[in-house]
């Protein structure tokens, strides 16, 4: 879908979240001088086209006890990577799932971020993925983060 300046203003006004007021879409419209009806119609169109994946609540998984996570990486047969990647992404403990190119000294093409209440639980879930992938997977590894070195939000500008 083609986005225009108004859509981009809506994105800029909502990328930090929806206001917690009875008519949040009207409130966004007030901030960027669009009517509530127009904000609603445009956000619905963006949701229909996939620009908005969903409007929802993301719980803080750390606060809810899922304090461990690891970036699991898998060397999956190319011919089956799309089909199997979709199955891994659909698991309820995987928060990101991508196919990426292999590199020199790096044979893994499927990346899946695994979450759990403990490192043991993350390892158990990693074993679950290994079973799912079966013989289509030649090897795998998991990388735990030991330190956040930088973290900034991914932002776009309102005017574009």
């Amino acid at each position: 879908m083609t986005m225009d300046a108004s859509d981009r203003r809506i994105i800029a006004a909502t990328q930090a979240g929806l206001p917690l007021v009875p008519a949040p879409y009207a409130e966004i419209g007030r901030q960027i001088r669009l009517s509530e009806a127009e904000v609603i119609a445009r956000m619905q169109a963006m949701q229909d086209s996939g620009v908005i994946r969903r409007i929802a609540l993301a719980p803080n998984h750390y606060a809810l006890g899922m304090v461990a996570n690891g970036m699991s990486v898998w060397d999956v047969e190319d011919a089956r990577a799309t089909e199997l990647g979709a199955q891994v992404g659909a698991l309820d403990f995987v928060s990101h799932c991508y196919l990426r190119p292999r590199a020199e000294g790096w044979t893994y093409n499927l990346f899946a971020m695994i979450h759990g209440a403990s490192k043991d639980e993350v390892e158990a879930k990693r074993a679950e993925i290994a079973t799912l992938l079966g013989s289509a997977c030649r090897s795998n590894d998991i990388l735990y983060s030991t330190r956040i070195l930088k973290k900034t939000g991914l932002r776009i500008r309102g005017e574009a």
Binding site: P22, E36, I55, P59, Y98, P101, N109, R147
Partner: protein
């Protein structure tokens, strides 16, 4: 963001019901909290107050639209470097100095530094990665996404 679990008594059954239900979606319309609340037997005001409280205690990371990053026009690339331990702080400072470096993690692997480059256009990625290679004298492996899969991630509250 809060990175420590809340004590179990911080959330009552209604809070947990809200956290579970609204992960699946939230309506677009004139009175979306009234509509979402009706499904939970909560008034519009009660749902808004609960959500404010859940946000205050750090139980919610985000509430609102989740945008497809690529559809918004930006370009992103996961990158990794093998940084000698003795050189780690110097390299980290050089890498983090680039505004295009959106997040950066130290990880347990021979490739021990992993960061995401974010640029306005796909052409904006390579010059930054090349600059980091020049500045640090180390190779920057680039892992752009080839395919992204639908995510079924759910946190049970």
């Amino acid at each position: 963001m809060r990175r420590v679990p809340l004590p179990p008594e911080a959330l009552d059954p209604v809070d947990r019901q809200i956290l579970n239900a609204l992960q699946d979606g939230f309506p677009i319309g004139e009175h979306p909290f009234a509509k979402a609340g009706a499904a939970l037997n909560l008034s519009e005001t009660a749902l808004i107050e609960r959500l404010r409280h859940l946000r205050e205690i750090g139980a919610i990371t985000r509430f609102g639209p989740f945008y497809d990053a690529a559809a918004m026009g930006g370009a992103f690339c996961l990158c990794a470097m093998q940084v000698p331990a003795a050189d780690f702080e110097r390299v980290m400072t050089l890498v983090n100095a680039h505004p295009e470096v959106a997040h950066n993690y130290e990880r347990t692997h021979r490739l021990n530094m992993w960061f995401v480059l974010a640029a306005e256009t796909p052409e904006g990625i390579a010059p930054v990665a090349d600059a980091i290679e020049r500045e640090t004298g180390l190779k920057v492996l680039r892992f752009p996404k080839l395919e992204e899969f639908f995510i079924g991630f759910r946190v049970s509250a």
